[in-house]
């Protein structure tokens, strides 16, 4: 390749003078121009070869379908059907005026806030615990993170059995203290509580893991200084540790918010959105309207609305990352 030749600046001029006959500046310039044109073409080809396939796939399966999704959302169209009628924004107005929509928004908000809020609080508590100098904390960390790598469907199914109102562990534990088991399978509100618990169980280890990394990045002398100033553990935690963890908290709040808003596997395995739509989130509605009811246009409209919500959340995060980079 021509790499050596393309970097004349790297060789000291006086060194060159000793070893070679110097071409006139005009000759040099012409030669460099020819070489650099060849290199540029070569570089472009190589760039296309290396980055091209990935970028083509992104365009084909991410950007193009995103635009198509906007277009589909203006159609009255059933999946697989040859016939589609353009209806403008009617799918959107239908969704916003549908009597079921406030309920779906409510379920989405409760599920998201409970899994994000609960996950962050429990995750932070676990991280603080795992950061203490306790024996066996290494294996404990591994065990706490393990559910995060399991299939959401498998987790949903095994917890369905744990929650069995007659023959499950939860019923047995409640029975031991004289409480009846809630109708996890048949009561919409308890079903929502159930999927929230399972989502928490699966993801809390990941949150703890990230918080633990954040905790371990806090310099020891900061904590020692706080102790010397007479701050107790509670005060140190509130006034020193928590503020220092705020970048981690922000990152986690955004990533868990995004993943909760897109959660599907556990709900599909455990409740299929029921009973009585009690666990139908927006993400689940997109699937149900599009692939169970076949209303592709309407489903695309809901998907577009959810996309806008996710986009706003992510853009807030990107702004934050930029700020962090500036202050680093």
């Amino acid at each position: 390749m021509t790499s050596t030749a393309t970097r004349p600046a790297r060789i000291e001029p006086d060194q060159r003078a000793k070893t070679r006959v110097i071409p006139t500046p005009a000759e040099q310039a012409r030669a460099r121009k020819v070489r650099s044109r060849r290199t540029r073409r070569h570089n472009r080809l190589l760039f296309a070869l290396l980055a091209g396939p990935n970028i083509a796939l992104l365009i084909a399966f991410t950007y193009k379908p995103l635009l198509q999704s906007f277009y589909y959302s203006t159609l009255q169209w059933n999946i697989g059907s040859q016939r589609a009628i353009s209806v403008g924004f009617r799918n959107y107005t239908d969704w916003f005026t549908d009597s079921e929509t406030p309920h779906v928004i409510g379920v989405t908000v409760v599920f998201t806030l409970a899994t994000v809020g609960g996950g962050m609080v429990i995750g932070l508590a676990l991280a603080v615990l795992l950061n203490r100098k306790l024996k066996l904390r290494g294996p404990a960390r591994t065990i706490v993170v393990a559910p995060y790598v399991l299939s959401g469907v498998a987790v949903g199914l095994l917890w369905l059995f744990v929650f069995d109102p007659n023959f499950g562990i939860v019923a047995a534990a409640l029975g031991a203290v004289g409480l009846p088991s809630p109708a996890w399978y048949n009561d919409p509100q308890w079903a929502l509580v159930m999927v929230i618990i399972v989502q928490l169980w699966k993801n809390v280890g990941y949150i703890a893991l990230i918080y633990l990394a954040g905790l371990q990045a806090i310099p020891q002398d900061v904590l020692e200084a706080a102790a010397l100033d007479g701050a107790g553990p509670a005060r140190t935690f509130r006034r020193v540790i928590l503020p220092l963890l705020s970048p981690t908290s922000f990152f986690l709040s955004v990533t868990t918010l995004l993943s909760s808003l897109q959660s599907f596997d556990i709900i599909q395995a455990m409740t299929k959105g029921g009973p009585l739509e009690g666990t139908t989130t927006m993400m689940y509605e997109i699937y149900r309207d599009g692939f169970v009811a076949g209303r592709a246009g309407y489903s695309s409209a809901v998907a577009t609305i959810l996309f806008v919500v996710l986009l706003i959340v992510t853009l807030v995060q990107l702004r934050f990352v930029e700020r962090k980079v500036h202050y680093a």
Partner: protein, 273 residues
């Protein structure tokens, strides 16, 4: 001063571990129980025998062997090609000078804003029109592009010492050789971490294969598992839990063996932002 034994800490740690492990133990024990042991009050923890009846039943009712092969194929090719694409793209973005490079980087980064879950309908329509329903390429191809992996690899490549690569360039090593002989060997920890997380993600992938596959012999494990849920109207928990063990056990083994690398992969995203 006598150091206080942190009893509270150990109790809390024990509770956390029990909450995480108990459901998994319950699943494992139930996978060996007969119907009468499952439907017994008060609940019975240990099965009367560890005969693998439920496992053989699960293998009889649904083609678990095919599920396993399908999961292995889609995971290996899905994760493998994705990593290769990510590495190639990241190298090009960091080391090859071309005009409009920022635009290409933007295309990769902004794809992170579009979750695959949002575009299932157009992608399904496309895959169906290509006749790719119930095929491996139908399961794999739409999720192949690497955005997050490319981003992480790019971050890592930017941190590599430029002097090494410049020396290689002066020695006449072209881009492909520099990528193969210098950049990749200097990046193995990052590649391993990202690859393991990709393997876990692909193995557990559910929504997309659920949409494009309805023939049992093409199903991956998570999809096939749900076939056991309602084969005959009522749930046969023993068989279903046996299936659940078959789906979770391989990934649990991988996780416990490689947990250091997987943990590194999981935290990589957080550390870089």
């Amino acid at each position: 001063m006598i150091r206080r034994f942190p009893l509270g800490g150990y109790i809390a740690l024990a509770i956390a571990v029990v909450v995480m492990v108990l459901p998994l133990v319950w699943m494992l024990l139930a996978s060996f129980k007969g119907q009468s042991e499952i439907y017994s009050l008060p609940i019975q923890w240990l099965p009367s025998s560890f005969a693998p009846t439920n496992y053989t039943d699960a293998l009889d009712v649904v083609p678990f062997g095919s599920f396993f092969v399908n999961s292995a194929i889609t995971t290996v090719f899905g994760a493998g090609i994705k990593i290769i694409l990510g590495l190639m793209t990241a190298y090009a973005l960091v080391f090859i000078e071309v005009p409009f490079k920022k635009v290409f980087f933007g295309i990769v980064i902004f794809a992170l804003l579009v979750p695959q879950q949002i575009v299932i309908i157009p992608n399904y329509t496309l895959i169906a029109s290509l006749g790719w329903l119930n095929t491996y390429q139908g399961i794999i191809v739409p999720g192949l592009a690497s955005a997050f992996g490319t981003f992480l690899f790019r971050q890592h490549f930017l941190s590599l010492p430029p002097s090494v690569l410049e020396a290689a360039a002066l020695d006449g090593a072209g881009h492909l050789r520099r990528l193969w002989a210098f950049v990749l060997p200097m990046s193995t920890p990052t590649i391993a971490a990202v690859a393991l997380v990709s393997v876990v993600t692909e193995w557990n992938e559910y929504l997309w294969p659920l949409l494009v596959v309805d023939r049992p012999n093409m199903m991956t494990l998570p999809i096939g598992l749900t076939l056991l849920q309602n084969t005959d109207g009522i749930t046969n928990w023993g068989v279903l839990m046996a299936g659940t063990v078959l789906v979770t056990l391989p990934i649990l083994i991988v996780f416990f063996v490689m947990q250091r690398k997987i943990v590194a992969g999981l935290t990589a995203g957080a550390v870089t932002g």
